[in-house]
Amino acid sequence: MTRKQKRLSVILAGLAFLAAAAGLTFYALGQKASYFYMPADLAAASVPPGQRIRLGGLVEKGTIVRGQGATVAFSVTDKQKSVKVTYTGILPDLFREEQGVITEGAFGPDGVFVADSVLAKHDERYMPKEVADGLKAKGVWQESTN
């Protein structure tokens, strides 16, 4: 190989590497990003069981049921629709009735959302941003909940 060809092949290898990385990134964005839904959005978007999503809303009053061991069931609502959620683990410290919450997981075949992580707001002043925006958009936002 001449010097020029050598340099060209090094540059081509570099470009091929970058293209592979870019391709991987876009593939991963399509496959691995989880979308955020509020309960009322779920009717319009058909989410198949097993697909990871994030479900946010308020913890519906009077729905928290502590089951066997560390399993907890509760409903997440946006005051229009509500979705049943089960979660096994320790609930965050700021998990309370009527408070904003984001759960991440997938729907089981029975239509119950099985969460593997539950996030509540960070302290008494902040509601998860997605939940606050969603409630505002649905017109059920009350400043008092902030």
């Binding site: 050598k6 090094v10 570099g14 590497f17 970058l18 990385a21 991987l24 990134t25 593939y27 991963a28 964005l29 496959q31 691995k32 990003a33 989880s34 979308y35 955020f36 990871r52 994030r54 502590r66 061991g69 560390a70 096994t88 683990g89 320790i90 609930l91 410290d93 700021l94 991440e104 960070h122 302290d123 008494e124 902040y126 998860p128 941003k129 997605e130 925006d133």
Partner: protein
């Protein structure tokens, strides 16, 4: 005192305007006296900023609730340490800390930069002045920490309980020393572009600053990771949270910069690329500041959301990143390209390192900004988390880690892979042995786990091989080996330590992720639980009272080989002022591993939800970070990098020349 602090801050802003204009004009017109203004102005600006910061800190220490920021973030019952650290545990105070560190670094250049070319020093100080002016204005216009309340409230609203921890004393200052430290590299790059000149002495100046910034950023990230690990009670050490990514991106780019600066210093190659990397690294630091401070992300770091602040920081971001890149586009072609090298050489290895690291930075950037962009453009809300980064960042890092041991063993200009491979045979054999031992003798080890352990051993052994090879191990007599070892340049030790630390961190990550176990269960007092060979007995909950909180303390007795082996306690704390509950995790370190437990809610029947983890080798994750820091410190001690070193050599020459 509070007003003094405010005035000092306004004066510091005014001085930063002088600092950004006068030396610049001086350098342009060749006026020595104008250029000389830069030094004293910078030092005075630092003194005023320090005074301002001291004023705010004393308001916090004295619980002066007539100051709005103190009222919002402090309480008279807080322990003194949290009163003081609370100074930067809020938006206004943390920005003041940011400029304090910025002016501190500027003052260091002003004081110790006497052997810099006068015009370069003037331009560097001017660029530092520009950054300072922008952030002083930001603080004074949108985030004044000295705003008074009238009438003054009697009691404060308490610091966010999550921040009432020693971590707040260490993590933000360290992280900022890193973030802001890269501003020096940025200023040197912009100054070089303004002058249209760059040479090896420029790299000799920039490299120690990169090392300092990188060292503190490494420490800041490691500390933040450990803090999140024990404070949040989730047992995770890294969440790929956008705020974490905001500090990780400058670290990755800074690591690339660290390596390319070596090439530039030693071989005067990659000049333009190094300059661009320095600009990009600080740009990512600014981006991090924007992401964390503007409130576009909801997180524990976003202390308050105020659109005016977000827009202001976005303007600063656009101005500095856009301005510096435009200057780069205009001027970079004037800089002369440096020495040539064969693809297989030390330079080639470092270029490969840069290729991997910058690509990895780009994937993290995409993963962090894509959700924000998507929401701004379509309103769709997505979250990009660990699965995305596992698929993109992971595959990019693995080959890079695999080639790390080769780099230092290749020679400059034209290297010999076969010779390097021969030297690495022992390390390779060790890695294979580690893979086999892990795969065959440890229960439940997956192929990934075995390969991960092998890769970590490969890194550690490779780093040691480098030291052995450079001291002639196996080639010369043992006594000479020892003498050569002791005489190796400190930067060689620095490299070996940093790579060794990387291996240790990887070993910790693989150990925790692949061999960790966890259990979630409800326990009544007297019940025992067994996890990975460790038995814990729940002794019960007991109420207790702290200075500004009450807590329910769960006590667990660790039983090893039938004997009682000390207590682990985890607590649910209630902070009445903020009506907030936090979980204090209980951690017991056993060797390099940890037993971690966190307390959940109490059920009506008196049983308690308990989550416990066995985290093998987890301490290595942060221990490796400390070793990397030690590596950077070692490199900094290298004679060649010490700023005084060239001056020393000049003196005897001068003495010879003068007839005495």
């Amino acid at each position: 005192m509070v007003e003094t602090g405010h005035f000092a801050l306004v004066l510091a802003f005014a001085l930063s305007l002088v600092q950004m204009l006068v030396p610049l004009v001086g350098a342009r017109t060749g006026n020595q006296r104008l250029m000389a203004v830069g030094g004293p102005v910078t030092v005075t600006g630092f003194a005023l900023t320090a005074l301002s910061f001291a004023a705010l800190a004393s308001a916090y220490a004295g619980s002066d609730f007539s100051v709005a920021s103190v009222w919002e973030n402090s309480h008279s019952l807080q322990p003194m340490i949290y009163k003081i650290t609370g100074t930067w545990g809020n938006h206004e105070g943390s920005m003041l800390l940011w400029v304090l560190i910025l002016t501190f670094f500027g003052a260091l250049i002003a004081v110790f930069g006497n052997n810099l070319p006068a015009t370069l020093k003037a331009n560097v100080l001017a660029v530092q002045g520009m950054i300072g002016a922008a952030f002083f204005l930001f603080i004074l216009a949108t985030s004044n920490p000295f705003t008074r309340l009238n009438p003054a409230p009697i009691e404060g609203r308490d610091l966010n309980p999550i921040l009432q921890d020693l971590g707040l004393a260490v993590h933000p200052p360290m992280l900022y020393l890193g973030y802001v430290g890269f501003s020096i590299c940025f200023s040197f790059s912009v100054a070089a572009l303004i002058e249209g000149r760059i040479d090896a002495s420029w790299a000799r100046w920039v490299r120690p600053w990169t090392l300092v910034a990188w060292m503190f950023l490494t420490g800041g990230i490691a500390m933040g990771s450990y803090w999140a690990y024990y404070e949040l009670g989730w047992g995770g050490f890294w969440f790929w949270d956008p705020v974490e990514n905001a500090s990780f991106m400058p670290w990755l780019a800074g690591t690339a910069l660290l390596h390319s600066a070596i090439v530039m210093e030693k071989r005067s190659a990659l000049k333009i690329w190094t300059l661009l990397l320095a600009i990009l690294t600080f740009s990512l630091s600014l981006l991090g500041t924007f992401l964390v401070r503007s409130g576009v992300l909801t997180s524990v770091h976003a202390f308050a959301t105020d659109p005016a602040r977000g827009v202001f920081i976005l303007c600063i971001l656009t101005l500095f990143i856009g301005g510096s890149l435009a200057l780069f586009a205009l001027r970079a072609s004037r800089l002369t390209a440096g020495g040539l090298f064969h693809p297989i050489s030390r330079e080639g290895a470092l270029v490969l390192n840069n290729l991997f690291l910058t690509t990895a930075t780009a994937t993290v950037l995409v993963g962090t900004l894509y959700p924000l962009a998507l929401e701004a453009l379509t309103g769709g809300k997505i979250s990009v988390g660990a699965p995305f980064f596992d698929l993109t960042f992971g595959p990019l890092m693995l080959p890079l880690l695999a080639i790390v041991p080769f780099g230092p063993l290749l020679s400059w200009k034209r290297g010999d892979v076969i010779a390097a491979s021969q030297r690495l045979m022992a390390a390779f054999a060790l890695a294979i042995a580690a893979i086999l031992v892990t795969g065959l003798f440890i229960d439940g080890a997956s192929v990934f786990a075995a390969l991960g352990v092998g890769l970590a051993v490969w890194l550690v052994a490779g780093a040691l091989t480098d030291l052995a090879a450079k001291s002639g191990f196996g080639a010369v007599a043992p006594a000479i080996v020892l003498r050569r070892f002791a005489g190796l340049p400190r930067s060689v030790f620095g490299t070996a330590l940093a790579h060794l630390g990387l291996g240790l961190t990887l070993l910790g990550i693989v150990g925790t992720l692949c061999f960790g176990t966890e259990k979630i269960l409800t326990m009544r007092p007297g019940e025992t639980v067994e996890l990975s060979g460790h038995t814990l007995r729940f002794e019960g909950l007991s109420p207790s009272k702290g200075p500004n909180f009450t807590e329910d303390r769960g006590r667990f007795l660790l039983i090893s080989d039938g004997n009682e082996d000390g207590e682990i306690t985890s607590a649910k704390r209630f902070y009445p002022v903020r009506q907030t509950v936090t979980t204090e995790s209980g951690i017991r370190t056993l060797g390099l591993s940890q037993l971690y437990l966190s307390l959940g809610d109490e059920n009506k029947d008196g049983s308690v939800v308990v989550r416990l983890w066995w985290k093998p080798l987890v301490t290595l994750i942060w221990g490796g970070g400390l070793v990397m820091m030690a590596g950077a410190a070692m490199s900094l001690l290298d004679r060649r990098l010490r700023v005084g070193a060239p001056a020393k050599r000049r003196k005897p020459a001068a003495a010879l020349a003068s007839p005495t």
